[in-house]
């Protein structure tokens, strides 16, 4: 076992897959010689050559499109979109093409493309370097949508994604690249070193797509979260001393409904949290499904604690961020009801 931060874990996943499978290639802006603006592909071009790790023109639509073409021709491309905020120029190729190819050809063609992209706020990136657009893509059938919350899952899930024959969007919560973050920006930064999920095997392993993880068992309330919010939720539960069952969704689509409903049936209460804006966000799907599946077990309304329905501002990112205080209040509120 090694200690890795999330960047190293992601790098290791790609390294292993480039090694194991010569059809794996990496493409994206600045991913080659430079190793990526977040350094996730550092050293890979040197190791596997310029034909396996390709710097790309600044055209997200072209990157996705060419990855699709490569996928159809037997390669297994891992495309990096430099920030999730810049995925939109690729929307048509993702939604109309990548997600639909297998269906429209009744399985005769498919493109096993993995799209990696850093998401989320908390790095003073303002509205164009902080977005969490997963909710848009969870509404697109034909895609698998993932977001890990720690190095161990990041590596295992990314390997699964690369090996998967379905297209995957792999969102990387950049705020926790270097260490878990509990939502308090005034605390000193913590590295992954002492976190149990910072222990990462150096070799190949997978974390299965489509399975949520119970991060912490509990009896009184279920907290659903993913990415950075897993750590913030844990801190809020601790702060409020609530016996919360915290579930890291990990795969937003296809969703592990069973793990979620089993938990809510037990606790009868649920708080959902994500960084993305609330209105029509992924939390809505979680709430809608739970109220339908667990209606008779619920003793309080399901609450959502999310980014406000505004762009992510530069100056007030901590007022924007759904932090410990807001989660705590929601926990208290759902626990008030009897």
């Amino acid at each position: 076992m090694a200690r890795m931060n999330m960047i190293q874990a992601i790098n290791s996943a790609m390294d292993i897959m480039l090694e194991r499978d010569t059809s794996v290639i990496i493409i994206g802006q600045d991913v080659g010689y430079f190793g990526g603006v977040f350094r996730c592909t550092e050293g890979l071009q040197r190791k596997y050559g310029e034909h396996r790790v390709l710097d790309a023109p600044i055209a997200e639509g072209g990157i996705i499109a060419s990855a699709i073409g490569m996928g159809v021709n037997g390669l297994r491309p891992v495309a990096e979109i430099q920030f999730a905020d810049y995925i939109y120029p690729g929307c048509d190729q993702i939604i109309s093409e990548l997600a639909r190819l297998r269906y429209r050809t009744a399985g005769d063609f498919f493109a096993p493309v993995t799209i990696r992209t850093p998401c989320g706020g908390g790095i003073r990136g303002g509205q164009t370097h902080s977005q969490s657009p997963e909710g848009i893509f969870t509404h697109v059938c034909g895609l698998k949508i993932l977001m890990p919350s720690n190095p161990f899952d990041a590596k295992g899930l990314l390997i699964s994604a690369i090996e998967d024959d379905d297209p995957v969007i792999f969102f990387e919560p950049k705020r926790i690249y270097n260490g878990p973050f509990d939502g308090d920006p005034n605390k000193p930064a913590v590295p992954w070193t002492n976190h149990p999920k910072g222990e990462v095997p150096e070799d190949y392993y997978t974390v299965p797509i489509g399975r949520a993880e119970i991060v912490q068992p509990g009896e009184d309330v279920t907290i659903l979260c993913y990415g950075t919010m897993v750590h913030v939720a844990q801190a809020a539960a601790e702060l409020t001393e609530v016996d919360a069952e915290i579930i890291d969704i990990r795969t937003m689509s296809p969703l592990d409904v069973d793990t979620i409903t089993t938990s809510v049936e037990k606790t009868g209460r649920c708080v959902i949290t994500h960084e993305a804006t609330r209105f029509s966000g992924f939390g809505a799907e979680l709430a809608a499904t739970i109220q339908e599946e667990c209606f008779y077990h619920l003793v309080a309304p399901i609450l959502r604690v999310t980014g406000w329905d505004t762009p992510y501002p530069h100056a007030f990112e901590w007022e924007y961020f759904p932090g410990q205080q807001r989660i705590s209040l929601a926990l208290e509120k759902v626990l008030e009801e009897t």
Binding site: A65, S66, G69, Q93, S96, R104, A106, F109, P254
Partner: protein, 411 residues
Amino acid sequence: MARTPRLHIPQPPARPGDEPDFSYVELSDAGAVSRPEVTSRARHMENLALELVRVIDDQHKALGPWHPQLDTHDLQVGLRHMLLTRVFDDRMMAMQRQGKISFYIKSTGEEAVSIAPAMALQPGDMLFPSYRTQGLQIARGRNLADLMCQCLSNTNDMCKGRQMPVMYHWARGNIFSVSGNLTTQFPQAVGWAMAAAIKGEDDIAAAWIGEGSSAEADFHHALTFAAVYQAPVVLNVVNNQWAISTFQGFAGGERRPFAVRGLGHGIPGIRVDGNDFLAVYAVTQWAAERARQGGGPTLIEHVTYRAAAHSTSDDPSRYRPRDEAKAWPLGDPIERLKEHMIVEGSWSEKQHEKLVVELEEYCAEAWQEALSYGTMTTGPQLDQHELFDDVLKDIPAHLLAQRDELRSLSD
């Protein structure tokens, strides 16, 4: 508005009621355009993007450096494929009018731009078609009934009823899936070609779009990626003068031919008479050879005319002169090849008539075969529950549940 507007609005040469006018189409004489070595630099052959490569002249003779010197067999095959495409189109159009299929798109007058390239390319080359290139399927020997079954969404439909008519694909034949979303296939073809080059394979890719579609972002993505990585790909823009109701000026054709777009990226552009089978064959062969030798991409503009309506949902008499097709200066690709072959002595009117009858019969038989697999309303039916397959490779839990729900309804 206070002042006189001064925005330029492109004007088509003629509207309903006007005399057709194709004086804007710049022509070259057959045989007049030089043929550079396939290894020449793009900047040394910019003339190719402005002139018009033509081989068959007004006296039906083939001449000049682009004459591909095909043997009689190949000419007959080409003619047969083009004719079959037309016969197929006519029958499917009739079937749509009879309500047997929901929709159809003809390629009438543009048969050469798919048949000739498909013949000039190698079987291992991957083709990325547009919805108006059914000729690619036919030239690669697709069973006609298979195409018809797709249009019928029947039990033998390769798309399992999921796509509108004409959205064919053929994995074994190396023909990619037609997309309803314009131009998406262009940069995908570049990606496919990039993969071939990464793998060190000799296969190349070729893709087709209409001139109207060249305005889409993916056109630019294709040119940029093809130029940057020198991808082995042949990019075809079929300039049939119209994009539904808008003439080619609305895609920027008033100012410069579409082939010139290539030059802006350092990609050779070739403007070819799209109704001249021999010319299209020759330029494709040239571009394919260039690509296979590592010379990178070529952009080919096929100058042709959309003689039919845009689709069965369209009525072109609302926006262009009824007899515009007749005035088209480059004639009809089938007629022109036929006349050439007759002049050369390798074909006759009689053979031609016989062939038409044969193909119509073949088409009629294929239709009967196709019908045996059912239509959307009669005969054997696809299993509706298969509509949940292939969204993902394995059906996820929520779709299994939805399938059960649908099943319970039909019970």
